[in-house]
């Protein structure tokens, strides 16, 4: 009576929107806002404290757990859905007797999403903890952590564009080289 696979795919899309939505919030809103807040702090502006104390930690919490749940629900769906297999997708549909191009396309999306998840948990979150003062760090360590977190976040923003294209293309077709 209930299509559980549909529910998991639905949840995958909902939490995926939360993950990528917060990623775009960081890149398109918070980073420019912090730069302006820092620039205007010495001329009477309120400074970045409210963002770094109240907004960034909450946004990072939902961001990193949405990333994890997006990957887990995606992996479950690849295991459960009859047209996919986890092995087939992560080997890009190239390991069978004939090439499975649907697996190739989903595989590119799945690998890009996996790289993005690793970036979130191995680069963005550990470095943001130093930047936000949740972990002790010197000013030099904070400056380096800020740059690494920034570049990892920008890398994920860049990767999200082909990732979302491949996830769609798997059930439709590529927009290029048709």
């Amino acid at each position: 009576m209930i299509d559980f696979d549909f529910l998991v795919r639905w949840l995958h899309i909902v939490v995926g929107v939360m993950w990528i939505g917060l990623l775009y919030f960081f890149n398109f809103v918070q980073v420019p806002a912090l730069a302006q807040a820092n620039a205007e702090a010495s001329s009477g502006g309120p400074g970045p404290a409210a963002i770094t104390k109240y907004v960034a930690p909450r946004a990072l919490f939902w961001f990193r757990y949405a990333a994890l749940v997006t990957w887990l629900t995606g992996a479950y769906y690849l295991l459960a859905a009859p047209q996919y297999s986890l092995h087939g997708v992560f080997t890009l549909g190239l390991m069978g007797e004939t090439v499975n191009f649907q697996h190739t396309l989903m595989g590119f999306g799945a690998w890009l999403g996996t790289i993005m998840l690793i970036n979130v948990w191995m680069l963005i979150w550990p470095n943001q903890k130093r930047v936000l003062g949740l972990v002790q760090a010197t000013d030099a360590e904070k400056a380096k952590a800020r740059r690494v977190a920034f570049l990892a976040s920008r890398t994920n923003t860049m990767l999200s564009i082909p990732m979302l294209m491949f996830m769609q293309a798997s059930n439709h077709k590529l927009p290029f080289f048709m």
Binding site: N27, G93, L94, T104, F108, L159, P162, M165, F166, F176
Partner: protein, 31 residues
């Protein structure tokens, strides 16, 4: 200059990567 330092460069790099990977995917699969 790193294209990831600007938002425009980041988005442009994403679309370029999408086009390049489309070609790679089709070439790998031989379709």
């Amino acid at each position: 200059m790193n294209p990831l330092d600007s938002l425009g460069g980041t988005v442009a790099a994403g679309f370029v990567l999408a086009i390049v990977l489309s070609y790679v995917a089709k070439a790998l699969a031989g379709v």
